[in-house]
């Protein structure tokens, strides 16, 4: 008997315990990013929503411009602009109920502000007077996370805890395309799917992680495709189409709230400014690419729709711009005041009850400050068995 004949006699059966965990087809993202503006579907969109999105987008753009200007004046240590990505930022803030939670990354100051945070408090981290300038519970906005993707498991844990307590709360977590390569992204999505946690992940794929393009970040067909491996739906959306992002996120949040578990949304967008004011984007991308994306600007897309439907005349547009200008003027003025800092804050929030070691260090600093105030030359020498440290 030949080998081929033996093979023919063998009838393959699956391993006894094997069965598919879930049908992948419904989880797969559409082939093209979901769009509304510029399509027939746009006619159905509620004018109030369009106006709301427009107002926030104009404010958001103005905010980005103002914050970037503040870096040039030395008022901010650094600002990672979200110019070009305002549709994602604004939609992320608007789709949430008051009781829901937002988990932003370091680029998402705007989402926090659109959710109601005081613009100055939202910039405290970047100005450098404290790490988180706001009480996260007040607007249910977690601290802006600088280490990439590490906020994602927090969102999962919070959503899970809320569900355990019987609360109707959803968490929305933002992450960049580069952040999807981090282990925490994987662990968070896996936990969320296994726990069916009411959480939505929004990837703002803005083309680059600092200088590294998406092609060097992943070999996946799209970032939304990654969802399938975790057993959650993946959705692709035009990240510059505020209405589309709002729609997709709203659906995902409703799904989560109804107990359907997490969704991974990839918003395809573009970072118009450099990574931060400290970055030179000309080293890794050409002007023509940027210009192409300028032609697909999130503010213009909504404005065009409003105008074409006769929902926005010159006076209304001016009113929106004036409102944004007033916000910027207020921000500028308040940011131009030097914050009053208390050095003793250094020790105030390390532990619930400070350790004896911190208490000693605290009194050392207090003595130094007193001496400074007295104009004397500094605290006296510590004896060999003195306070020490």
């Amino acid at each position: 008997m030949t080998v081929m004949e033996q093979r023919g006699a063998y009838r393959p059966t699956p391993p006894p315990a094997w069965q598919p965990r879930t049908d992948p087809a419904p989880l797969l993202p559409d082939a093209l990013p979901h769009r509304v503006l510029g399509t027939d579907a746009a006619a159905q969109v509620d004018p109030a929503l369009l106006r709301r999105l427009h107002t926030e987008l104009v404010r958001g753009r103005r905010y980005n411009v103002q914050a970037t200007a503040l870096t040039k004046q030395g008022r901010l240590a650094v600002y990672p602009s979200s110019t070009g990505q305002e549709a994602c930022e604004v939609a992320a803030a608007l789709v949430l109920e008051e009781r829901d939670w937002l988990f932003p990354s370091y680029r998402d100051t705007l989402a926090a502000v659109a959710r109601g945070l005081d613009p100055v408090q939202a910039l405290t981290l970047l100005r450098g007077d404290w790490h988180t300038g706001y009480d996260p519970h007040e607007h249910r906005v977690a601290p802006l996370s600088t280490p990439l993707a590490t906020q994602l498991p927090h969102a999962v844990g919070l959503a899970h805890a809320a569900r355990l307590k019987g609360d109707d709360v959803v968490a929305l977590a933002l992450v960049g395309d580069g952040g999807t390569s981090e282990g925490d992204f994987h662990e968070a999505l896996n936990f969320a799917a296994v726990w069916r946690a009411p959480v939505v992940f929004l990837v703002q794929n803005n083309g680059f992680a600092i200088s590294v393009p998406l092609a060097k970040q992943t070999a996946a067909p799209s970032l939304a495709h990654k969802a399938v491996g975790y057993g959650m739906p993946g959705r692709l959306v035009d990240g510059n189409d505020a209405v589309a992002v709002h729609q997709v996120l709203s659906e995902a949040i409703a799904h989560a709230r109804a107990g359907g578990g997490p969704t991974l949304v990839e918003a395809v967008t573009y970072r118009i400014d450099a990574h931060t004011n400290a970055d030179d984007a000309t080293r890794y991308r050409g002007d023509s690419e940027v210009e192409t994306w300028r032609g697909h600007d999130p503010v213009t897309l909504v404005e065009r729709e409003l105008t074409e439907r006769g929902l926005l005349d010159e006076a209304a547009l001016q009113a929106v711009r004036d409102d944004a200008e007033a916000m910027a003027a207020d921000l500028r003025e308040r940011m131009n005041q030097d914050p009053v800092l208390d050095p003793m804050d250094l020790f105030a929030h390390v532990y619930a009850r400070p350790t004896p070691q911190l208490l000693e260090q605290e009194s050392q600093l207090r003595a130094e400050l007193d001496a400074e105030a007295d104009g004397s030359l500094g605290a006296g020498p510590h004896g060999p068995e003195g306070a020490g440290r």
């Binding site: 404290w130 896996n190 004896p356």
Partner: protein
Amino acid sequence: MTTVALKPATMAQALGRALRDAMAADPAVHVMGEDVGTLGGVFRVTDGLAKEFGDDRCTDTPLAEAGILGAAVGMAMYGLRPVVEMQFDAFAYPAFEQLISHVAKMRNRTRGAMPLPITIRVPYGGGIGGVEHHSDSSEAYYMATPGLHVVMPATVSDAYGLLREAIASDDPVVFLEPKRLYWSKDSWNPDEPPAVEPIGRAVVRRSGRSATLITYGPSVPVCLEAAEAARAEGWDLEVVDLRSLVPFDDETVAASVRRTGRAVVVHESGGFGGPGGEIAARVTERCFHHLEAPVLRVAGFDIPYPPPMLERHHLPGVDRILDAVGRLQWEAQS
């Protein structure tokens, strides 16, 4: 007076009992980790908790340490008090980013608005014949991170009491459980769990006048044994069990060394960059004029944790401690 029936309990059982009592006392307490549910943990510390409190309170998580601790952060943000188990010392390392960047700092970042009452239980240290990655002493990494408490019991009563305290603490606590003491036994009254000194206080386990052995966790029984053996040499050794490295009890330690005039720090993690250096410096700063000899350290070698058949050469034992005690006769030698 009623006589209480004392029953023997192992450290592992005492830890389990502490978890159980904490969960019964406070519905916010959630236990989670790898294999903590049905199996009851690889050391059986969480045995029975899933049955008694359900899967939602004692949860088998996916196998992902950063995910476990990261999820615990979010849970604590929402008012729960997660107690996570890292299966072994060296497997806690994937969670270090969450631990250092978020767990340790969240209170500080948010000016006290968002404390994270998370207890991180880590079976740690050697002496059980474990293969690679199952015997690390990782306390130096934790104690170098402001915002964390670092606690290690050495007795059955302390295992119970310190764990209850850790869970009740509004600060994150890294709770290091000396693996080789899991099966150590003590008799206690199961109806009335022991009252213990709070976190941050050291305890004099044996008083003596000639020198102080400063130690903690798995090395405490070794030091007590050494102190017994030293009697034959005419040395009356005091043994201080630190019980926590953060906060550090300078007072108890310095008071002891001022009494005895000599000190040896004993721990099984490596000496270079290890806790002993910090402790020796603190003792020297406080007790210089009382010291009859330099503060000595008896530590593990500065090597990756050795294979099981060689670990006895690495771990500080009675002889090495006695040898150091001998070297404390500084004046006689110089």
